[in-house]
Symmetry: C2
């Protein structure tokens, strides 16, 4: 019997349908093939990217030269541009503004062939630390309301370059999904006097059947009403409203958790394309009692069809309890 | 210079970025290849589908036998099941109900190789008439709050069968997107004392640069703030809140408009995978002053990546004005 389940934050219903696949993880994985060719993100090609805005470098190595472990550069083909004013213009009933924003690429490693399974927990710690550094730096620009950090791995997931990287987009308006989550979480807080994410953590830790990884400070679990198979949520167990206010002492635990989740997904599902996206409070409301930052991790295993597009109503063939069990039982070195 | 544009109904911002593609329609089209093999939707295989619930048939031809032009059958692998009660159950802070609903397949034609470019306007009229018939029939079941009608064409767009078909899903809860559009349209109505879609029709007919097809009763245009290249909206020019109350006299005009839009998309973009989705008022509010039914037509030309998933903030490389001009200039027989 399929079930309809409701997301407790944004009230989205999904269909959890087990009758369409024989085994819950019997999904076609479209593997990314090596693409070859010239890579502008590799060491030695530093002059092929815009000038770096941040890096982990060997002592005394020159900016935009070799000797780096991780580099952040503006996107050469940015979706938004950094210069201009934020004037809203009306066109009859419509509204627009100039496409002001920042768009950066975080080159996560020197090694062209690295992936989440070859990167160490220390590499992840550096990457996560860089996310925080970029948010704090971009927040200084008062035009930006929201800093989005995300990673596309594999062509199917939208990665246009093979070399391991994440992206940063700073936006002058809060995106729709962020507004929805903030609104839903605030309503829950008004009603229940508690953070909905903290309550989810409490229930998942008690119930345990959807947990994937738990360590000192972090929890990764399959949400109760996931849109897609193996959709995974990772968040700090204590209440922290935005990524940038997270204490330095939590980064080892955070890196270990993210590293382990991605390694498990790679091993269990055969290196599927995936996206992960940081969800955090908008820049002008970074400390609050109702929102709780988290990573949304989405292996791209199924095609999103017309029904989902048109209705926002997802049909998920894999119950999250089964996905969680499969990932828990997947042992990585 | 990229632009940020806001959807007037659901307040979703999109980035219209022209700097990432050389030509606005220089997009990779992943063509669907013939898949071959046994087709349960073809004439002669009527016993391979569940028993039909509606058909256009030659006089005196037997139910579930040959002699049909169009057939509607329950989906053999339904996402929802028809039998059961709609009791909501709480699981701590979560909420679920049984997966009750209807899931039907509309086999649009006998011809296995037919597509929108080979179907006639009369075929389209029969298909559209069938949509209305199914909605009116399923509405009799008081458990259903929303009837979703959609079509997936091509594997990339989620079509699991090649034979030309649409689908119907009747749902016991209104899906997220429908709630958003209803809420946005109602707010607009309260503020402006007019239907936002009627105002859009007025402005598009005056401005004309985003129009794709216009005839007596229908208008197809590229929305001002589309998420994806060549996203197209088609709607009646006069105010009609739901598909099922649309007068029979409008179906010829409706069929001609939809037929022409799809034929133009096929010719201009090389038979891309696409989805179209009917957006209509929920069953318990089919006549109102603020909502206006429409088709959303989405050629699947770009990959949706992490940024879009995580934020609901889309980067569209094709300005709708250029897409509309390209489709207007595409002449079909």
């Amino acid at each position: 019997m399929p079930e309809l389940r409701k997301d407790p934050i944004i009230s989205r219903w999904v269909i959890i349908s087990t009758e369409r696949t024989k085994r819950p993880f019997d999904l076609m994985v479209e593997k990314s093939r090596p693409r070859g060719g010239f890579c502008p993100l590799c060491p030695g090609n530093e002059d092929k990217t815009p000038s770096e805005v941040f890096a982990f470098r060997d002592q005394n190595s020159p900016i935009n030269g070799p000797g780096w472990k991780l580099r952040v550069v503006p996107n050469k083909f940015p979706a938004l541009v950094i210069e201009g004013d934020l004037e809203r213009q009306e066109e009859g009933i419509y509204e627009k503004m100039q496409g002001i924003g920042a768009h950066e690429v975080i080159i996560e490693t020197r090694d062209h062939n690295a992936n989440a399974s070859t990167l160490s927990a220390i590499d992840f710690k550096n990457i996560l630390f860089t996310y925080q550094q970029r948010i704090n730096d971009l927040k200084k620009d008062a035009r930006f309301r929201y800093i989005s950090i995300f990673k596309n791995y594999g062509e199917v997931a939208g990665a246009s370059m093979e070399h391991s990287h994440s992206q940063v987009i700073a936006l002058p308006v809060a995106p729709k999904r962020a507004v929805e989550e903030m609104t839903g979480a605030e309503e829950y807080y008004k009603k229940n006097k508690s953070c909905v994410f903290c309550d989810i953590v409490k229930q998942e830790l008690k119930n345990r059947e959807r947990i994937v990884v738990e360590n000192d400070h972090f929890l990764a679990f399959e949400p109760y009403a996931p849109r897609l198979p193996f959709e995974t949520c990772m968040l700090p167990k204590e209440h922290i409203s935005s990524f940038e206010v997270t204490g330095k002492d939590l980064f080892v635990s955070m890196a270990e958790c993210l590293s382990l989740v991605l390694k498990k997904i790679n091993k269990a599902l055969g290196f599927p394309p995936y996206n992960y996206i940081l969800h955090s409070s908008p820049t002008d409301n970074s400390e609050n009692d109702f929102y709780h930052w988290h990573f949304e991790i989405i292996p791209r295993l199924t095609k999103v069809a017309g029904f989902e597009w048109g209705t926002g109503f997802y049909i998920n063939p894999t119950p999250p309890e089964q996905a969680a069990q499969h990932l828990r039982e997947t042992v990585v070195a």
